[in-house]
Symmetry: C2
Subunit: 453 residues, 2 copies
Amino acid sequence: MTGSINIALLGCGVVGSQVVRLLTEQADELAARVGAPLRLVGVAVRRPQRHPDVPADLLTTDAAELVSRDEVDVVVELVGGIEPVRGLLLTALKAGKSVVSANKALLAEDGAALAAAADESGADLYYEASVAGAIPLLRPIQQSLAGDRIVRVAGIVNGTTNFILSAMASSGANYTEALEEAGRLGYAEADPTADVDGYDAASKAAILASLAFHTRVTADDVYREGIRDVTAADIAAAKALGCTVKLLAICEQTNGSVSARVHPAMIPRSHPLASVSGAYNAVFIEAAAAGQLMFYGQGAGGPQTASAVLGDLVAASRNRVIGGRGPRDTAHAALPVLAMGDTHTRYHVALDVIDRAGVLAQVAGVFAEHGVSIATVRQEGRGHGNGAAGRDADDGAPGPKDATLVIVTHSASDAALAATVEALTGLDAVQGVAGVLRVEGLGRPVTELGGGS
Amino acid sequence: MTGSINIALLGCGVVGSQVVRLLTEQADELAARVGAPLRLVGVAVRRPQRHPDVPADLLTTDAAELVSRDEVDVVVELVGGIEPVRGLLLTALKAGKSVVSANKALLAEDGAALAAAADESGADLYYEASVAGAIPLLRPIQQSLAGDRIVRVAGIVNGTTNFILSAMASSGANYTEALEEAGRLGYAEADPTADVDGYDAASKAAILASLAFHTRVTADDVYREGIRDVTAADIAAAKALGCTVKLLAICEQTNGSVSARVHPAMIPRSHPLASVSGAYNAVFIEAAAAGQLMFYGQGAGGPQTASAVLGDLVAASRNRVIGGRGPRDTAHAALPVLAMGDTHTRYHVALDVIDRAGVLAQVAGVFAEHGVSIATVRQEGRGHGNGAAGRDADDGAPGPKDATLVIVTHSASDAALAATVEALTGLDAVQGVAGVLRVEGLGRPVTELGGGS
């Protein structure tokens, strides 16, 4: 057995403390798998007194000094944020030290610089824990599917928003109530912005799209819409269509371009992603040869994320022992990134209209003008409660004075769809837009949409 | 860019022809990912005239000569079976040639010899395609979870039997009818033995257990029971319990031992594996830190399996270009393998009994003698059709002369459960055992079992 692999840990919070625990508890097993013992040589934290579980002689507040030590083989970074971490990791990689990171924000913003530094020195850069916690996702995309053409990666990659939307769907609660519940149960942070506004999911989408399409995609390239504006009425409307509302990260490759977006969307209740509830994550991958694959598990949590970190740590350490290194990030395809307006989606639009002859013709005319084809229309009487009424509009009896038109479109450019909605608000007969949500079939036929269930 | 990576292909059937196609169609992309072009230098087949799509100068009937050529870097084996393939692959590995194989039977029987040969020469041995077709499974187990402790791997890994059981459940067909349908639709081979008797799944279980538990487990170590004896009545009985019947491969690590088994089992309809239908595969992995993970996709098919083969081929080729090699199979844990009798399971037992006072006490006595605890008992009148009747036994009205006792046990050793069933058949009041099936909760509480749906 060769000498030990020496590890510097940056950050020792919920995940880091689990990494320390597992490194100790599983020391023998890990050594057998790596071919050398893993030795923790330092833990950089802000306030050492808060870490009584870590041997005092390992604790330091000087991360830069720790990273620069000659003895360090692998730097495990669990601090998060852009600076000062970027500088620390670049220094480590340039010095030939391998890096294991769970830092989605940094990878999504400047993964290219880190990858270049790793390439130059021959060090490893692993970041499985940055997306979907415990779920093995990056390694399957980067290695298992390396001989295939991935056409779509779509999934639920943020547990906080999934918890909130699940709670809204099951209890009928509105967004604010569900957010409060999530906070009480520890599923939402005191400042939930990164989660509920989709920043977290957008970073993950950028990482997934980059690996899947061999193209650099940064968080800025990702269209982002959070869940703050999802109403109880939207959830009810989805239910009436046989759908459920999820915050999705969707990365697609079409006609030589790629797109990446994060937004709430209705998906058919029969789709496997629809039943992913609470804090779970699930990601669908569609590849030309492999077909559809799904990966499911816990997307966050201390031990769960630590599992992904340790998998990377074993890989990086093993490469040190037996030589060689992990796969490089390749951006050889360098495909253009589509703007959201050019991305093709489907819309669900609920319009409050005056119930008089000719209104539907007028509304349909606006869709036609914008080249948007309508898949289904349903007229609902109002005053029966939102979205729950319905069928009586079809029976020929005179309807109530006001009505809601529920329209699901076929696929069209997002710009055309947005312009259609904008134009509809200008019609006299339209009293208001009760709800607009994108609809995703995710590779499955959604012909049954509009039929209720 | 370095010289090409030269590939020898053994076997060119459903999967091999897709590998040839993808190597050609995706040549540029694959070269970019590997860092060198992949060049097919020979294809060994039995009857060259049957392969008009392969350039004639590549075809050969002499696999041994092809494998021994100096120019060959990687051997891709898609022939199947033990001999002569074992000898060919050992020769290749000993000569330092990397091997990519989809041969579950060989890996399950003699993976240790192949791994040792690879270790000795420093060549790579990859076999992602041997289990669950397109689904990335071995790489996640071996690499992503390398820092975790896997406690259970359980899933549906044979598409043919899953198709048959799905057909039986949805149409009420019996086994023979469903098998015929599977044959007509191309989901069952002319000789379905390997699938329906569980040999295929047992090989996969051996491979999964070996990797998950770092212990050599061969196909002979795996308890194996196929689906030939699953009756329409079993499926109906499962339905009445809120369950569905699946052929499961289950690998577990408990108290320092491992076990691997393949048998049909009832699982709760609420379990994600229950909704995996038709030819799909799905595998649950439970690890100490990561928690529960699920992987889902197509377990067979030409392009799907070729995707897994190409992923391995890219990895092996890349290792040749940049140096290094993939993870070794480690068997460092070397845990003992439990016999099936010592494995803990739960049973569903349906007994045809004479409906007279004291029968239940007698039956319960037999369970107690064997130390088996009963979870639920339900008595059903007979003559209403098997398993579909039911509830009227509870309403206090006098029951019919004969009855069926439906019993679900708590967990006990399989030997104790089998002995209990054996002893029950000796009771006067027991006219016959209408059905015995194992029940699996798969890590989820099955407290609702017995409550119907």
